[in-house]
């Protein structure tokens, strides 16, 4: 029963994606929406780490950009078909991130952020220098096949289809994370985040769940990177740069990281604002920076946090009004 409501919301959300396709007037705008949804997925990965581990990563671009290179190398060398390469690369990224996580999640606070930055930049430099494999600063084209899972490339690359694929993937990933957090894993990781020492003294081994959260967030970021790569069929070293992680972190903070919806909202707001600015889009970072300052000062829990507390206040107000009216009726 408790899962039925979540499944219904997910179904409605998928239907909402179809409505967006119907009402969007141009293919180019739909392309912007597709980018927004891809970054929403990426922000979801970064936000999941912050929400469940309380850790800030400046290096998740490694997983977002790295997945394109990994699939590109596998397909270029014809190691396996794309249908196998996709899950294999995602699994390998998850396993590698778990192994890295076992070491780095023990490092607290800002030191963790610096470690992720260092690891991310290491791979960025590797991608720009290893010209023979990665194409260096020019990047590498990814030879996606003409059919994928039985669907022709031409149909998959239609703007409407690409949008729906990314949208449905986002809804499914968000649903899976939501269900995961409802399970015991959610309580364990919340307890560790709130008070790691106490968690140990109630019998929780704290390193493995923290590493698992790190690995999950890496895989979600990699799924976003995979969608982005299929969209462009190109792996660029710029996608590995720390600034990509920083912008995504900014989306997470503006949207709010205490819920799974927060990072998604932050990414969509970022892309909508950039699109609305039109010719002034070059100033979008300055405007978003100002928005970040405003959010941190006036609503540290982001847009979703502000909305949640507004709704709570309204409900509280309505409840006390209703109680007052009842008392008045009883008095008369």
């Amino acid at each position: 029963m408790k899962y039925t409501q979540s499944l219904l919301v997910a179904l409605v959300a998928m239907f909402g994606g179809w409505l967006i396709v119907l009402v969007t007037p141009s293919a180019s705008l739909l392309g912007v929406f597709t980018q927004a949804v891809i970054y929403a997925m990426f922000a979801l990965g970064v936000g999941f780490l912050l929400k469940q581990n309380g850790l800030v990563s400046f290096g998740h671009a490694l997983y977002f950009g790295g997945v394109g290179y990994a699939v590109g190398v596998v397909l270029t060398l014809d190691m396996m078909p794309a249908e196998w390469a996709i899950p294999a690369v995602l699994l390998a990224i998850g396993a590698a991130a778990f192994a890295v996580g076992l070491v780095i999640v023990r490092v607290p606070g800002i030191a963790f952020g610096m470690l992720t930055l260092a690891i991310g930049q290491m791979f960025y430099l590797l991608a720009t220098r290893a010209r023979g494999i990665t194409g260096g600063s020019d990047g590498m084209g990814v030879p996606w096949p003409t059919t994928l899972y039985g669907f022709p490339e031409k149909a998959l690359r239609q703007p409407e289809t690409l949008f729906m694929i990314t949208w449905v993937a986002l809804v499914l990933v968000a649903l899976l994370l939501h269900l995961l957090l409802k399970m015991r894993f959610g309580a364990v990781t919340e307890a560790i985040r709130d008070n790691e020492e106490r968690a140990r003294f109630i019998g929780i081994r704290t390193t493995v769940p923290r590493a698992a959260v790190y690995a999950i967030s890496a895989v979600v970021s990699a799924i976003a990177g995979l969608l982005s790569n299929y969209n462009s069929a190109f792996a660029s070293p710029e996608s590995l740069h720390w600034s990509v992680s920083a912008i995504t972190l900014l989306m997470v903070i503006v949207g709010g990281f205490q819920t799974l919806a927060g990072p998604i909202v932050g990414a969509i707001v970022y892309f909508l604002v950039s699109d609305i600015l039109g010719d002034y889009a070059t100033y979008s970072m300055a405007i978003f920076g100002a928005a970040l300052i405003a959010v941190i000062v006036f609503s540290p829990h982001g847009i979703t946090g502000a909305v949640t507390s507004f709704v709570k206040r309204r409900r509280k107000g309505a409840a006390s009004l209703s109680a007052g009216a009842t008392r008045e009726r009883e008095a008369t």
Binding site: A187, V188, F201, I202
Partner: protein, 239 residues
Amino acid sequence: MSSQVLHAQGVALYYGGVRALNGVDLELHRGRICGLIGPNGAGKSTVIDAITGRRALTQGRIVLEGHDISRLGVVERRKLGLSRSFQRTSIFGGMTVRRQVELASWKTGIDDWQDDAYAVLRELDLADLGDVLAHDLGYGEQRRLDLALALTGRPKVLLLDEPMAGLSVKESHDLAGHLKALTSSWDVSVLLVEHDMDVVFGISDSVVVFELGRVIAKGTPAEVRADPRVREAYLGSAA
């Protein structure tokens, strides 16, 4: 005499050249409360850290029901029935009361963890606050939640580090009543580190006095209260 549950034998713990604990012998018996008193810096909290595995022993051993647990980690000792609270309230602020107590019960590995969690919540008058986030609780309620987390999983030994700190007289009195009731109804042994002498001498079956990492006296509350060394070192006019 009741049966021995926990025995700290010749426990020493050094921080570099500082001897925080030096040859401490301590016994806890089933269903009994042992009060541990001493001036600040005497090593009272350190002995709890040593027994629960938070700090490694320099010498000595910890024996729980005949088994040497000195080399076990914090999690293993908890699963064997050693449980503790902290001097500062140590709870999970962002979780509801019920969620964290259920989690603590579940992690002990007992089969009926849901019944256990409910019994603990009822025992400490927290059942009606199950859906409240811990950081929204009053201070006294947070202290009871701290104790509730320690009490889950039917522990054999509870090591409580100043559970009455910051409570009002009435709250202290109520919590002392809960502790006394727990030892008989839950069959748990308690090591109670506390500065409130009325509470310690009121509910303890035995009292141990620490000074500079050593035991300087032990016995029944009446014997300890009458000991001239204790009066000189710690109790003074309070005795």
